[in-house]
């Protein structure tokens, strides 16, 4: 059983990679080139953006599904408007709260914000998945979703990094984007009795943050790769 579980992440990694890589290779049928190596076909920035946006949409969808499941399992449905706000660990990261704010923000900053967000969620999601796998209250479907979510964050971060590198290469952004995470963004070590509630809050927070990432990427693309209506 454990072996199967351990192999599942690998399988999901492969699947995620296939999904991602297929997106990447569907255009040129060639690996992504770095430093303009000879013999490989470079993907355009627009294609890269499309892929990462697609990925982030997928990630957000999964997070929404998981959140809905948790809401059914653990908490009765409350009023329509919403719940009491929570303190997410990523609240310290300054993120634009509106469209104009995001549009007015510098590309580098926006890219950096995206990367920070993605970086901040790598470990918590992994721990969340581990917690779900061991807890028999959740079905396999939720556990698989958690794993997929975790892997997607990882892949998305790498994808955005590639986009950033591409942008740097193209001269769109000036300096390199650092993906260093501030220490306060890291979650404190968890204790046993807060698991369940924290998981639900975690999902809530992640759902919000994945939506942020998705929107930011879209705005970024609209700003960098000019399209109609941007």
């Amino acid at each position: 059983m454990l072996g199967y579980i351990r192999s599942v992440p690998a399988v999901w990694r492969v699947l995620v990679c296939l999904v991602f890589c297929r997106n990447l290779t569907s255009i040129g049928a060639a690996p992504i080139c770095t430093n303009a190596q000879t013999g490989c076909q470079a993907l355009s920035l627009a294609n890269l953006f499309d892929r990462v946006i697609q990925h982030s949409a997928r990630m957000h969808g999964i997070s929404n599904d998981l959140h809905s499941e948790f809401e059914q399992y653990f908490l009765p449905s409350k009023n329509q408007i919403g719940r009491v706000s929570r303190n997410c660990h990523t609240s310290t990261i300054l993120t634009p709260n509106g469209k104009e704010n995001a549009q007015r923000m510098a590309r580098e900053e926006l890219t950096e914000v995206i990367l920070k967000l993605l970086m901040a969620w790598r470990d918590p999601l992994w721990r969340f998945h581990q917690g779900m796998a061991h807890n028999h209250d959740f079905n396999n479907f939720s556990s698989n979703k958690a794993l997929e979510m975790s892997d997607m964050v990882h892949e998305l971060r790498k994808g955005v990094e590639k986009v950033a590198d591409k942008m740097q290469m193209l001269g769109i952004i000036s300096n390199s984007v650092s993906s260093q995470v501030s220490p306060e963004a890291l979650l404190p070590s968890d204790s046993a009795e807060w698991h369940l509630m924290r998981d639900y809050d975690l999902l809530y927070c992640f759902r919000r943050d994945s939506n942020k990432v998705q929107n930011y990427l879209k705005i970024l693309k609209c700003r960098i790769v000019p399209e109609h209506g941007c």
């Binding site: 408007i81 709260n97 469209k99």
Partner: protein, 604 residues
Amino acid sequence: VRTSGWDSLEPHFTECISRDQETFRCWWSPGSFHNLSSPGALKVFYLRKVSPVSEWKECPEYIHSKRECFFDVNYTSVWVPYCIQLRGQNNITFDDACFTVENIVRPDPPVSLNWTLLNISPSGLSYDVMVNWEPPPTADVEAGWMRIVYEIQYRERNSTYWEALEVQPHTQKTIYGLHIGKEYEVHIRSRMQAFSKFGEFSDPIFIHVTELYSEETTFPLTFILVFGTLGILILLMLILIFQQQRFMMILLPPVPAPKIKGIDAELLKKGKLDELNLILSGGIGGLHTYAPDFYPDEPWVEFIEVDPEDSAAGEKEDHQGSDTQRLLGLPPPVSLNHHLNIGCSSTISFPDDDSGRASCYGPDVPNQDTLILMAALLPGQAEEEEATLDEVERAPSPEGGESHFVQSQTAGSHTWVNTDFYAQVSNVMPSGGVVLSPGQQLRIQESTLSAEKEMQRKGKEIGACEETGEKKQKGLQFQLLVVDPEGGSYTTESTARQISAAPNSPTPSEGYQTIPPQPADAKPAATAEDNQSPYILPDSPQAPFFAPVGDYTVVQEVDSQHSLLLNPPPNLSPHPCMPQQPLKALPATPVAYVTPDLLGNLSP
């Protein structure tokens, strides 16, 4: 929204909605507190947790007519928790709610709905429609700020149930399987991707496709097809019916009936064994073709089984070298019985013929009459020399009719075995037997041979010609036997005697003799004895001296007394000086005649 109790309803927030994720509105209701329905009685405060230090602020924009609090772009922050409170006088909080803006987004319905006809099914009963629209103008979809998915619902005009199609982000959708002639209503609503709150439905559009001319084009085609197939089927049926025999011949070929040359298959079917036997035995209308074919292998010609007693009484000498045998090239019979046996065994394969078989397998001796008649019919073999000799020697001693008859019979018994192809019935026995007389030619030959032998034996040198001529003269007596068909089957003894007595004089003349019918039958023939046909010759040859009747005699006519008048045989003019003519051509037009009574007796 807070519910407190049954009887009263406090002022509460009804809903907060954002259309574009850049602004949002909140509505409240005074509830049952009608005194608070006046504008300004209730106030909305909000709290935006953007910073650690946050404070309640009042609604930036009131729309009292709608009891709405509008938050414009400056006051809207996405992903930021909001809390609102509905306060009355004296800061009494009636209701509060917290939310984030992205969770309350309900996009506007799409606009510019229209449909186009894609195709119509070949049956002309259903069609497909493509519906397309524009995203809501308030939603900034191009910038990617909002990702909207759409849900189409359609229903028939008079139905209350909406058919919902799958949510999808594209601005067009194909509806399949709409029915011709029915009117459909379509409307669309939108929501944010990965969120659950739908916006309102758009204004409906109506789809209605009536029966088009395309039906007319397909109608004759189906018409033609249906009637074409019907016509082909009818044609096939007609062909089948009218050509039924031919089809039956092809499908079920008839079983070939047994074919025997010369025999009508109808005889086999109807079981007319009498005629069949007659035909097969080579009698009247018989199979002449059979005769030469069968004789080499089926010497059942010789199959004339004789009475065992007679044969025992008779000579046991081997009769060898009969003319028939010589003619056919057959080996001479060893003995009578043996000969019979030989003949018997070789006719196993012969078709079922009672006349032939009965004599073989039956333990009983076949009817003498049958045999006699067979002998009469069948080509008999040539008389043996010895028999001839005996007969001839005995001939000149007429001792009596009976004895003559016996002798003749005895002699005849041998002669039966070795009679010629055809033998003439000379006499009818009292017992019903038939006496055969050898053919004229044979007679002459026999007499010649016997004369020669006699000469040889006696060592006399007699003029063969003279002797032959004498013998011939003797032999040239023939006696015609006329049997009344209407009379009894057999002539009585008296008649036989008459017959026997009549031919006494060896008159080498042709003569006729009629046997009048029986007077016992109370027929006008009672006086038939005296009544004789003008054909009756005065002289009749002696009984032993059987007139050299021709082998075949043609019935000339039937007289008034139902007597058959036979033609004399053609003038046989074998030169007496030419005795050595063992093989003489038989006279022409031979006819073996037999009465119906005898015919009836033929079959056992």
